[in-house]
Point group: C2
Chain length 226, copies 2
């Protein structure tokens, strides 16, 4: 993986152009179909052969990194910013609303944030930042009496992934339905009328394992002969 010196051999103009076309095509297709979309589809959409795709990117993870690197960095910055809200609950709400908006708008971003995709450096950074943000805001909200004290950042991450994963389904018919479910989730996090939670929260490692599983869902086929 050590191709740290790409600068000394600049790509020829046609190669560079194809690389851009591939990234643009991947961005569109990922947005519609998610990051599991066939790589051949992406190559075709870019108007190049599949060999060219594999020549420019070692595999799916590297293409994802190229496509989402920038937008993930944007989210990262938003997370950092959210942490500075004086009213922690308001900050948490705004942050989650922003995240859900992204999950609803782009299937690829959704896959990235709700499953345990491995091998994308920017994604690891985002996950760490996301955890930190939720942890900080939740703790502060708890101190401020706005959030129930027995809920953890891992709980929030799990629920975010679980709900987020379902969002694209509802988005087809009702683009803004996610607001309703996020509001319901948030109300469950408030201290008023809360009942003690059973079972311990997931550990960070357990959460990672759970999210890895979330991605491994293959589609059930039921009607084959149509």
């Amino acid at each position: 993986m050590g191709s740290r010196v790409e600068k000394e051999t600049p790509l020829r103009r046609d190669a560079r152009r194809n690389r851009e076309m591939l990234i643009a095509a991947a961005r569109e297709i990922y947005s519609d179909q998610g990051v599991d979309a066939p790589l051949d589809d992406i190559a075709r959409r870019a108007g190049v052969g599949s060999a060219t795709l594999y020549r420019r990117f070692a595999g799916r993870a590297e293409l994802i990194e190229a496509v989402f690197g920038d937008s993930l960095r944007d989210i990262l910055r938003a997370a950092e910013e959210a942490r500075s809200a004086p009213d922690a609950w308001a900050g948490l709400t705004a942050y989650l609303e922003r995240i859900f908006g992204l999950l609803a708008a782009d299937r690829g971003t959704n896959d990235l944030m709700t499953t345990g995709i491995q091998g994308v450096p920017s994604l690891d950074a985002l996950r760490a930042e996301n955890h930190k943000t939720l942890d900080v805001l939740l703790r502060r909200a708890q101190q401020q009496g706005a959030a129930r004290p027995d809920v953890t950042a891992e709980d929030l991450q799990f629920l975010l992934a679980a709900l987020g994963r379902a969002v694209p389904g509802s988005t087809v018919a009702a683009p803004l339905a996610w607001r309703r479910y996020l509001a319901l989730l948030l109300d469950g996090l408030r201290p008023e009328g809360s009942h003690p939670l059973p079972a311990p929260s997931l550990t960070s490692d357990q959460l990672g394992a759970a999210m890895l599983q979330l991605g491994k869902v293959r589609r059930p086929r039921t009607g084959r002969a149509d």
Copy 2:
């Protein structure tokens, strides 16, 4: 798809035996891997050729029906029973706990109840009964002041599917973690400290479409969505 069952031609003994072996094998494999497991795997586990499987069952849906018919009928009865609880909230809680227990224990049942698999008659009956149960219990709980008035049965079904879909992931590392998340969800449904919900609830049709999407991870056929 008129599969008029001809009871007048009873299966030969070897054929009947193979049929039972196939159902038993499918039950085990579905439980581990979900209902999208390769049919060839099931045939191999049953010790027969794949042709035998296709000879006994028209396709995946018919095998699912044969495997889960009985257990689905059990759930159906439990639903009917839950509706008669005097304390609607207690009934609702008990019902959801029962459902989540099943979703956590069996991946096949999970697929059946959290996605929009088509072509399985028992499943359609179960979905109808499930909706009715949630609707009745929720309304009664609202009248009794135990549930917030602005939540609908469709909301509950959506959240049930969304959370249920994520349960198997957490089950690997922490078998009882789902209790925690169900408790959190339930607290969000209580009237104390609830805030008005934005956006309208999904309609029944929209919910159906959303659940259909939950199962589909990959793109449809060549070209358009079906």
